[in-house]
């Protein structure tokens, strides 16, 4: 791979040991993918995870003097002030989060603690070259915004933020952005929930870049967020097209770059029902809690819940996870008050796959997100997956259909 003088200097340690380490990793990635050169990025998002490896890597870079050239936004861990003050995390867990906070702050990241930067705080424009980790983010920025990012790992995205460059391969190149699987959606996409299930059809869709047809004319950010998040829970997708909707797919032909699809897949209502049955616990049972916001809920979703439970009392715990800045909006809009009066909690900066949920271990929850049900399994939480309104009803009555 060709390196410019500046990139070579980074590799040789002229910009410090930490930067050299980041560059070494990136050069190796570039070499392994046969990249010819490195190109500058103007945005990055790091899937901070508040896990030991994440902290080890960030602290190693920091102690070796690395600083971000391009300040990245970051994923959530857990909200330290909320969970620590309520003694819901141990000293060690709080300390890990605090050290993660300090390490990323030291590296110069913008501590947004939000897994949906692509809907508000870090939105790339068409064609912009970026480095996004977080599995729901990469398909969103590539597909919806037409920006360019490979499916970065948390650590490779951090390296890119530090050096300001990424190796040029994969989805950064025109020829790799064309669709190859035609996905004809025959299912009735009546709410954002169906996009969760459509995204979970990864096994049926198969590897490649899907081109969806048959979707409604208006698709909101919540539906698109769900689609991307679940595609990358059920498979590995850097990008998709929606014919007549996403910017690189004004029509089916353009989406495939003039070629014929390699595979045609049809998705019906029955497919969505079958996948739901497969991934969800059985219904008709009592539940212990409801959890929403994986990926983080938007203001619109928080307001939807508030409208449904205003003036009522929840029978079960309800957690709504969101970004710090949506939380601010919810406070200002009076939504937080309505939620809290009904007994729900809207909490920022927090992910379902974090140690702060130890009190839910061994319990059964409801959620509308298959991703929310998938990762926390190893923390002993099990979920019934239903559409949002059914989940809200379950939190009110204590039982799910």
């Amino acid at each position: 791979m060709y390196l410019t003088q500046e990139q070579q200097d980074m590799l040789n340690g002229k910009y410090g040991k930490g930067t050299a380490y980041a560059m070494k990793i990136q050069a190796a990635i570039g070499e392994s993918f046969g990249a010819e050169r490195m190109v500058p990025i103007t945005r990055a998002h790091v899937a901070l995870s508040n896990q030991e490896a994440d902290l080890w890597f960030a602290e190693k870079l920091l102690s070796e003097g690395a600083r971000c050239r391009v300040a990245p936004t970051v994923n959530p861990g857990f909200c330290l002030s909320y969970f620590k003050n309520r003694h819901m995390v141990s000293e060690e867990e709080a300390s890990l989060m605090q050290r993660t906070h300090n390490a990323y702050k030291g590296l110069g990241a913008v501590l947004t603690y939000n897994c949906t930067p692509y809907v508000a705080t870090n939105i790339p424009n068409f064609g912009e070259i970026t480095a996004y980790s977080e599995s729901s983010a990469t398909p969103y920025v590539n597909s919806v915004w037409g920006a360019r990012s490979n499916r970065e790992g948390a650590n490779s995205a951090l390296c890119a933020a530090i050096t300001g460059y990424v190796p040029e391969y994969g989805l950064l190149l025109d020829e790799n952005r064309r669709g190859n699987i035609l996905v004809e959606v025959k299912a009735d996409m009546k709410s954002d929930f169906q996009y969760h299930l459509l995204g979970y059809m990864g096994r049926k869709i198969g590897n490649g870049i899907p081109v969806f047809t048959g979707l409604p004319k208006h698709i909101g950010p919540e539906a698109l967020t769900n689609l991307g998040a679940q595609l990358n829970t059920s498979g590995a997708y850097g990008m998709y097209h929606i014919a007549g909707f996403t910017p690189e797919a004004p029509d089916v032909k353009t989406a495939f770059g003039g070629k014929e699809p390699e595979r045609i897949v049809e998705i019906t209502n029955e497919d969505l029902e079958a996948i739901l049955e497969e991934i969800s616990l059985e219904g008709n049972r009592e539940i212990d809690f409801a959890m929403f916001g994986c990926p983080h809920f938007t203001l619109k979703q928080a307001k939807h819940i508030a409208d449904k439970i205003e003036g009522k009392k929840l029978k079960k715990e309800m957690w709504i996870l969101t970004s710090y800045h949506v939380k601010e909006l919810a406070d200002r809009m009076g939504i937080t008050e309505v939620l809290e009066q009904a007994g729900a909690v809207i909490v920022p900066d927090t992910c379902p796959d974090q140690p702060c949920w130890s009190h839910l271990k061994g319990k059964v929850g409801v959620t509308e997100s298959p991703k929310c049900a998938y990762y926390p399994k190893r923390r002993g939480m099990d979920f019934v997956i239903r559409d949002l309104d059914t989940c809200i009803e379950a939190a009110l009555t204590g039982e799910v259909e």
């Binding site: 103007t42 300040a71 947004t112 809907v119 424009n125 037409g146 800045h325």
Partner: protein, 432 residues
């Protein structure tokens, strides 16, 4: 004009007087344009708050003021609902949502503004208070139809996101928010979105201010009528801050509401694609000299004391606030200088979380939200004889106020230097 059954029902009053009036106005608006049908609006920004021009209507009742000015009716039609299919955010108001004393405003005015904003919130408007609705997730996707009261957002939406919007106005944005429709005309129609003018940019553009100046330099060359330029050049490290600076400056110096950038905006992969087979009406080159000429009249020549330094028009995003904090860390603003940084309150909350607010405050500056110096107006600005802005739009608009101030315009770093030294020096003028 062809209306759908649903639209006709709204016009017939089936959804109440408010929706009916909004629809009547939209239909009339469409008839004046010669539009054949309406299109569905799913995003809007509206101009809430107790803006000064509303004072022509001498009434204590928000709804009366609203009806007479925004609905153009002489009865009182309560503004109590908006289209459930449309996501609506509020633009800047003439007041910060949280403080009034530092802006030299009265409690009475602050409360009136809160009352206006609160009524809009009850009607379904998300209270944001920003000229930069995209900072809180209000971003139309390609092909989405939207309305906005901000010219800069119209042009950004059309150009950068490939969404569809005309420059229509404050009243029309309310009508569309209420009935969820706008006339299908102009940039809402695919065939009208091709380029008309070809601009070759030969000036090297690095910082955001240079992109702003490109907007002004183009404004000096483009016709006053509506046109759709396409720019080509060897653009390096283009980021969103540069683009929003450019589009905002272009919007206020021209009537242009869409501008393609070859290789950057989605409808302009190539020059040919941007023109889509239509003729090039005119073609010109912008040189470094043009950029410099655009700058000179925007910045006063006198050296001397500085009283106000204002950063953030359009409202700063979190990255810009971080840069401000990084620069000010450990430094002190000169006594007597008011350093104001403008953003939207959820971004300020994020700045609080990240410690940027504290750094800026320790340096002697302060972050404000929900408005800007020009929107607050004379009440604030009359007390500052010498003002520095990092924005072409602010510095230009301040000049049109009936005040006799020195107005300086430069990039954010030189503006902060002026705040630290308390002086305007020749070296703070922007130069390449």
């Amino acid at each position: 004009m062809r209306l759908t059954t649903e639209e006709q029902a709204m016009l017939d009053g089936e959804k109440g007087r408010l929706v009916q009036t909004a629809m009547e106005n939209i239909v009339r608006y469409g008839q004046v344009l010669g539009a054949q049908e309406l299109c569905k609006i799913t995003k809007a920004t509206v101009f809430c708050g107790a803006h000064h021009y509303l004072e022509v209507c001498d009434s204590e009742d928000f709804h009366e003021v609203f009806t007479r000015l925004n609905l153009a009716r002489d009865e009182v039609i309560p503004f109590d609902r908006t289209s459930p299919e449309c996501y609506i955010q509020s633009c800047v108001a003439a007041c910060d949502q949280f403080v009034y004393e530092p802006l030299n405003q009265t409690e009475e005015f602050f409360k009136k503004n809160q009352y206006y904003v609160e009524e809009a919130r009850k009607a379904g408007v998300t209270v944001v208070g920003s000229c930069s609705p995209y900072l809180t997730g209000w971003i139309p996707v390609r092909g989405e139809h939207f309305v906005t009261t901000e010219s800069g957002v119209t042009i950004l939406g059309n150009s950068l996101w490939g969404a569809c919007c005309n420059s229509d106005g404050i009243e029309a944005a309310f009508w569309s928010s209420i009935c969820g429709r706008t006339p299908k005309w102009g940039y809402h129609v695919q065939e009208n979105r091709h380029a008309t003018h070809l601009v070759h940019v030969e000036a090297p553009l690095d910082s955001p201010i240079e992109w702003e100046l490109l907007g002004k330099a183009m404004g000096m060359r483009l016709p006053v009528t509506v046109c759709t330029p396409v720019i080509v050049g060897d653009f390096k490290e283009v980021d969103f801050v540069k683009l929003k600076s450019f589009f905002t400056a272009l919007a206020i110096t021209t009537n242009c509401r869409m501008c393609h950038i070859v290789g950057i905006t989605p409808e302009a992969g190539t020059v040919e694609m941007a023109f889509g087979g239509h003729e090039v009406e005119d073609e010109f080159v912008i040189t470094q000299e043009d950029i410099e000429n655009a700058y000179q009249p925007l910045c006063d020549k006198t050296e001397g004391k500085v009283d106000l330094v204002s950063l953030g028009c359009p409202h700063y995003d979190i990255h810009q606030i971080k840069k401000t904090a990084d620069y000010l860390k450990g430094k002190k603003v000169h006594p007597g200088v008011n350093l104001m940084v403008w953003t939207v309150y959820p971004v300020k909350a994020m700045a609080d979380l990240n410690g940027y607010t504290r750094i800026i405050e320790e340096a002697g500056g302060r972050i404000y939200t929900s408005t800007c110096p020009v929107t607050v107006g004379e009440t604030l600005l009359k007390d500052y004889p010498s003002q520095v802005y990092d924005s072409l739009k602010q510095s230009g608009s301040v000049r049109s106020l009936p005040l006799e101030q020195n107005v300086y315009y430069t990039d954010m770093y030189r503006a902060m230097e002026a705040a630290l030294t308390g002086q305007w020096k020749e070296e703070y003028r922007w130069k390449k």
